[in-house]
């Protein structure tokens, strides 16, 4: 007996495929919106030739590098911002301003400055992650409950102890949340960058399908993007749960 909570995913998927099939045969031009079968066949071919894995791999590689760069640069800055009012006052306003500038808008500058090589992609992905991680880290660090710090002081903790044993652990949940959100922005950045200035990757795949009049490819690319995003987000969610068990904090799935 299939449990409803599992079955409903199946039900809604079938529902969507049905709607898709209907749309492809009635409202939309099948040359523009191919029916599910055509896409499935094309998908199978791409898996067989391994083509799809190459593109996914390239995109993931770019995200990974840009993301790690982002973490390494952003966390220290965020910590500094959380600890020091001066840093917060200096960095806060520009960051709040930049927050509204999506990584997509940085693409022209990145491409111009770094040419169409890998560096420009890393820059864009890095940009996508830094602001979020900085702000979340800063919030986490600054929200360390003062009572907790006082308790530690009463127990003989030095400022160094307090930072590493009280402040950072207290900030940890916030940092993780920031990391999770930032990852989403990274994917957004890499797809956009690949659509505009690349020769491989999921974004390129989606864009290329227009030029080569292969609309099935577009659907495959979009679907894989969603899948990869979903899987990485789930992985993140699961590892957060595991790491946060001792905090007994349930990071809400948003």
């Amino acid at each position: 007996m299939i449990v409803w909570s599992r079955a409903r995913i199946l039900v809604s998927s079938i529902g969507i495929i049905l709607l898709w099939w209907l749309g492809s045969h009635t409202i939309f031009n099948p040359k523009l919106v191919p029916p599910p079968i055509v896409v499935a066949i094309s998908f199978w071919k791409m898996i067989a030739t391994g083509e799809i894995w190459v593109h996914i791999g390239v995109s993931l590689r770019r995200v990974l590098i840009g993301y790690l760069l982002g973490i390494v640069t952003a966390v220290p800055i965020g910590v500094a911002m959380g600890r020091s009012k001066i840093v917060e006052n200096l960095l806060g306003p520009p960051l709040q301003f930049m927050r509204n500038i999506t990584p997509l808008a940085i693409i022209p500058f990145a491409v111009n400055a770094f040419t169409v090589g890998e560096a420009s992609k890393y820059f864009i992905i890095w940009y996508g992650s830094v602001i979020t991680i900085i702000l979340n880290t800063a919030t986490g660090v600054s929200l360390t409950p003062q009572i907790r710090i006082r308790a530690a002081q009463c127990l003989g903790a030095s400022p160094r102890d307090i930072f590493f044993r009280i402040v950072m652990p207290s900030a940890w949940p916030f940092i993780l949340t920031g990391l999770r959100v930032a990852l989403g922005f990274c994917f957004m950045g890499v797809v956009a960058a690949e659509m505009v200035a690349a020769e491989n990757g999921i974004g390129f795949l989606i864009m290329q399908s227009r030029n080569m009049l292969l609309p099935e490819q577009m659907f495959i690319g979009i679907f894989m993007l969603g899948l990869v995003g979903l899987i990485t987000d789930r992985l993140f969610h699961v590892s957060i749960r595991r790491l946060m068990r001792r905090y007994m904090i349930m990071i809400e799935q948003d």
């Binding site: 939309f28 930049m98 509204n100």
Partner: protein, 254 residues
């Protein structure tokens, strides 16, 4: 804003301007990063000729139409999901899946199906706002404390009463937050849509510089994006805090 904060903002701006000025022409070629005076000159030109207003207006119009449509639909779907379990069960999986697909990835599809006109751009905005708004509203609807529902039952409330008089008002903070988030996403989506295939708008302004054609316009576009985005967000925040006073919730910036 107190004087200390104003001082720090001035210092930040000064440092940023200074760094910008120094790197332009030296680290970065002028065609990639024009100097502040060059940008200012073109900025002034664009204001006088109303060219800037034109592009801003186009983008804001798209955001407005797409945003209002998407948020309204998202609100209806999300709140209904709160009331009808079946809807919730069936719709939740696809929404969570599509949440991972950034609007950029769907721009080529939108163009293929809906052409290069306004419809495709607005539809991308509608897409992201519906998803975001639906998920936030649904979460809000599910957040009603059980005790509150029980209190209402004791006062003679029918299921209909409970939905409209208890669950919906309790969800109000989430709905407003959802709106604020959706506005942010709208800005992102409009840039995405205008980047790929447009001949006007802020995103276009930024994007057209990708082959080092109009670098000054790019900077102006970026500044406008950040500024207007920030302004919109702050206005929203103020409005929300005013409306939420009785809930005793104050939304902070981050």
């Amino acid at each position: 804003m107190d004087r200390e904060k104003a001082l720090y903002i001035s210092i930040s701006i000064a440092i940023i301007l200074g760094t910008w000025w120094l790197t332009s022409g030296t680290l970065f070629h002028e065609a990639i990063l024009p100097s502040p005076p060059q940008v200012a000159e073109r900025f002034w030109e664009m204001i006088i000729t109303a060219e800037l207003l034109f592009h801003l207006g186009i983008s804001l119009k798209r955001i407005l139409i797409g945003g209002v449509l998407g948020c309204s639909l998202g609100f209806i779907i999300g709140t209904s999901m709160g009331g009808i379990k079946l809807m919730r069960d069936i719709l939740e999986p696809p929404f969570h899946f599509f949440r991972n697909i950034p609007p950029v990835a769907l721009v080529p599809l939108a163009i293929t199906v809906l052409g290069i006109g306004e419809t495709s751009k607005v539809s991308v905005i509608v897409y992201i706002t519906i998803i975001s708004m639906t998920l936030n509203c649904a979460a809000g609807m599910m957040s009603t404390p059980q005790i509150r529902i029980r209190a209402a039952l004791c006062l003679g409330a029918s299921p209909r009463d409970i939905f409209f008089r208890i669950v919906l008002p309790s969800a109000w903070p989430y709905i407003l937050t959802g709106l604020r988030v959706a506005v942010g996403y709208s800005f992102m989506a409009v840039v995405a849509a205008e980047m790929i295939a447009a001949d006007k708008g802020i995103g276009f302004l930024i994007m057209q510089s990708i082959l080092i054609i109009h670098p000054r316009e790019m900077v102006i576009g970026l500044v406008m994006l950040g500024g207007i985005g920030l302004l919109g967000d702050r206005i929203f925040l103020m409005a929300i805090n005013r409306l939420m006073r009785r809930y005793m919730i104050t939304m902070k910036e981050a």
